[in-house]
C-alpha cells in the first residue's frame, strides 16, 4: 500500500540527513580509535628503528612491524617502573586538578548565579576569556607571573610572607594552576547552568519555613545542583587525565603525564605501537574512572536528591 512506500521513503530520508555525521564519526572517530587499538598491538621496531618508510606507511615505515600481533607493548608498560610511575602520576594529577577545579568552579558559579544582570554578563565574559585565547598565551602569561622575579613572588616577598622567592614555575603547582585555568571555564558554565535551572521558589519556601540562608543553601540549593555539578566533575576528570600542554610547558621531567609520553614514544622514539598503546591506556583510564565515579558517587547523588 502507498503508506508503506512513503514510510520507506521517510526512513530513507532521515538517514540521508544523518549521513554526514555517521560518515564523520565512523571514518574519523570510531574507526581511528579502533585502528589505534590495532596499532598498539603491533610489534614495535624498538627505539633504534629509524628510517621513515614510504609515505603510505607500508612496512610500518620504521614505526612498527607490519602484520604482527602482540601485547608486548602493554606488558612492557605495566612491567616497567618508568611507565607505571607516569601512569600513577597522571591519575594523581587528575585527581588534584579535579579537586582544585571543583573548588574554584563551584563558588565562582554560585557567585555568578547570585550576581545582578550586568555583573553576570561581565563575569560570564571573564569566564569565557581564557577559551577565546590561545592556551599557549596563558602558559606564557603564567610563566611570567610565576617566575622567580615574577609578580607573585614579588608580592609575597614585598608583603613579607617569605624572605626569598620560591620556585613556582615548572613545578606541580604551576601545572595544576595552568590545567585548572584551561578546564574551569567549562565547569563554571555547566554548574552555572545547573544553578540557573533550579526552581528559585524552593529556596524561598525553605526560608519561609525558617531556614537561614546558609542552611537553605546547604539543604536545598546545593543538593539540587549536584546532578549538574556531577557532570562538570566527570568532564574535569576526563580532561585532566589527558593533560598535555600544562605538564609539557609548565612541568618538569618528573611531572610527565601519559599524554606527554605519547608524542615522546611516537616521535622521538619512533615507536608508534607504544605511543598508541599509551594513548589507548589513557582512554581506558578515562572509562574506568568514569565507571568508578558513576558507581560510587553517582548513585549516592541520585539517592540524595530523590
Amino acid at each position: 500500500m502507498f503508506s508503506r512506500i512513503s514510510e520507506r521513503l521517510g526512513r530513507y530520508q532521515k538517514f540521508f540527513l544523518l549521513s554526514p555525521l555517521l560518515f564523520f564519526l565512523i571514518f574519523f572517530f570510531a574507526g581511528p580509535l579502533l585502528w589505534l587499538f590495532r596499532v598498539s598491538l603491533y610489534q614495535s621496531r624498538g627505539s633504534s628503528g629509524f628510517g621513515i618508510g614510504g609515505a603510505d606507511g607500508k612496512e610500518g615505515g620504521g614505526f612498527y612491524v607490519e602484520g604482527t600481533w602482540t601485547i608486548e607493548n602493554y606488558v612492557r608498560f605495566f612491567q616497567d617502573d618508568y611507565f607505571r610511575d607516569i601512569m600513577f602520576f597522571t591519575v594523581e594529577l587528575a585527581l588534584i586538578v579535579t579537586v582544585v577545579t571543583m573548588l574554584v568552579s563551584y563558588p565562582m558559579a554560585y557567585y555568578i548565579y547570585k550576581a545582578g544582570p550586568k555583573l553576570k554578563i561581565f563575569l560570564l565574559i571573564i569566564v569565557i576569556l581564557p577559551k577565546l585565547s590561545n592556551m599557549l598565551v596563558l602558559v606564557y602569561g603564567l610563566q611570567i607571573l610565576m617566575a622567580n622575579n615574577g609578580w607573585i613572588n614579588k608580592a609575597l616577598v614585598g608583603l613579607g610572607i617569605i624572605d626569598e622567592p620560591i620556585k613556582l614555575v615548572y613545578t606541580l603547582f604551576s601545572v595544576v594552576v595552568s590545567k585548572v585555568l584551561l578546564i574551569a571555564p567549562y565547569t563554571i558554565l555547566v554548574i552555572t547552568a545547573a544553578l540557573h535551572g533550579l526552581d528559585k521558589t524552593l529556596r524561598d519556601a525553605a526560608m519561609g519555613l525558617g531556614a537561614s540562608s546558609t542552611k537553605a543553601f546547604a539543604t536545598i540549593t546545593f543538593p539540587l545542583s549536584l546532578p549538574g555539578s556531577y557532570v562538570a566533575l566527570l568532564i574535569t576528570i576526563v580532561w585532566a587525565l589527558g593533560a598535555f600542554v600544562s605538564p609539557l610547558l609548565l612541568g618538569n621531567p618528573d611531572l610527565t603525564t601519559l599524554a606527554v609520553e605519547v608524542p615522546r614514544q611516537t616521535f622521538e622514539n619512533v615507536n608508534w605501537a607504544m605511543g598508541s598503546a599509551i594513548a589507548f591506556i589513557i582512554l581506558s583510564l578515562m572509562f574506568v574512572v568514569v565507571l568508578i565515579f558513576n558507581l560510587i558517587i553517582g548513585s549516592a547523588i541520585k539517592w540524595r536528591t530523590e
Partner: protein, 374 residues
Amino acid sequence: MSTEERKVVLEVKGLTKKFGNDIAVKNISFNLYDGEFLFVIGPSGCGKTTTLRMIGGYEFPSSGEISVRGQLLNNVPLEKRNIGMVFQSYALFPHMTVQKNVEYGLRMRGISKGARREKVADVLSLVELEEFSDRYPSQLSGGQKQRVALARVIVLEPDLLLLDEPLANLDKRLRDTMRVELKKLQEKVGITTLYVTHDQEEALAMADRIVVMHDGNILQVGSPKDVYNAPSSPFVAGFLGETSSFHGTVRACPDGTREIVVDDDMTVKPSPTHLLNDSDSVFVSIRPERIQLSKEKQIQEVNCTSGIIDFVSYLGSHVVYFINVLSGRALLKASEAIPTGEASFKVGDRVQAYWQEENVVCISEDREDSAVNV
C-alpha cells in the same frame, strides 16, 4: 440545492490512521460539497486534527482514500496538493512582511513579480489589511495575524480550505467577531472549507453541516439543527449545547402508545413513540431552554416532574436553574430568558418542571454510540 446536484469536492473513504498500537482515526468516511462550510468537531484526542492533517497531506494515512475533485490524492505529495491550510498558530513567517508572507505560495509557483503584487493587493483588500502589507507578523494583533494566514492561502485559489482551530488563540470577544467575519468571507469567496474545532458553539453558529467525532469514529453528520435537536447518541447530545440526561425503561400504555419510565416521579413520553420497543433501556435528553417551570401543583401527567431549586446561575441575558429532582438523585437544568432582569424563581423554591413531547430526545441504549457513516 439537493445533495445530488451539488458537486463533491472532497471524498474521504475508509480513512484510518494508526500511531503504533494507537488507532487515532478509525475507518471514517464523509463527503464535502462545493462551497460548503463543514465543521468537524469533537473533544481533544478524537482524531479530528489528525484527519485534517491527512487530508492536507501532512500525515500519511494508514489506509483509506482521499480524493479531491475526483482525483485520488494518496500519492500526491504535500506541496503539489492544491489545498490551503491555516494552522492554529497561524505559522506566519516571522522574518517576512505581510506582503512577502502572502505572496510566498505564488513565488513557489513561479508567478511573476508584477502578477504577484496584483494578486496580493486583491486578497489583502478582501481581508481588509491593505495598509498592513509592510508590517511584520510581530507587529500584528491576533485577529490580523489570522486574516493574513487566511489571505496567504486564499490567494492560491485552492480547491479546499482547511482550518485547524483558527480561533482558539483569540480571546472570547475577538472570537465572536471573527466568527462572523470568517463566515462572511467564506460565503463571499465561495471556497469549500473544512473547519476543525472542539468548540461546539462555534460549529453551531457557523457550519453548514457538522461532523461529530469521538475516539476516532464519526458519530453523526448533519446540519447544526439536526445535530442539536436530533442527536443520534448520548455523546452527541451531551457534546452540543447543554442538556439534562436520564435513563429509563420503555413501558406500553393502554392506548397503544409507549412511554418511558425514568422514576416514580418522572415519566417521559416522546413523540412519536412507535419506534420504541417494550422494555428497552433508553437514554433521554431534554434541552434546558425547552423546560418550563411553575409553582402550580401538577401541570401535566407525563413529561413533568417536581423538584427544589438548588442553584441559580445568572448569565445576564438568561438564568439557568439547577433543580434537584427525583428526591435529589438527579439534576435538571432549566433556562429562562429574563428580559426584565428579574428571575422568576430563587434557590429553595419548590417547582414543577414540564416540557412538550416533541422536545424530548430519546435514544435506545441497545444501539448506543455506534459509528455512523454518511
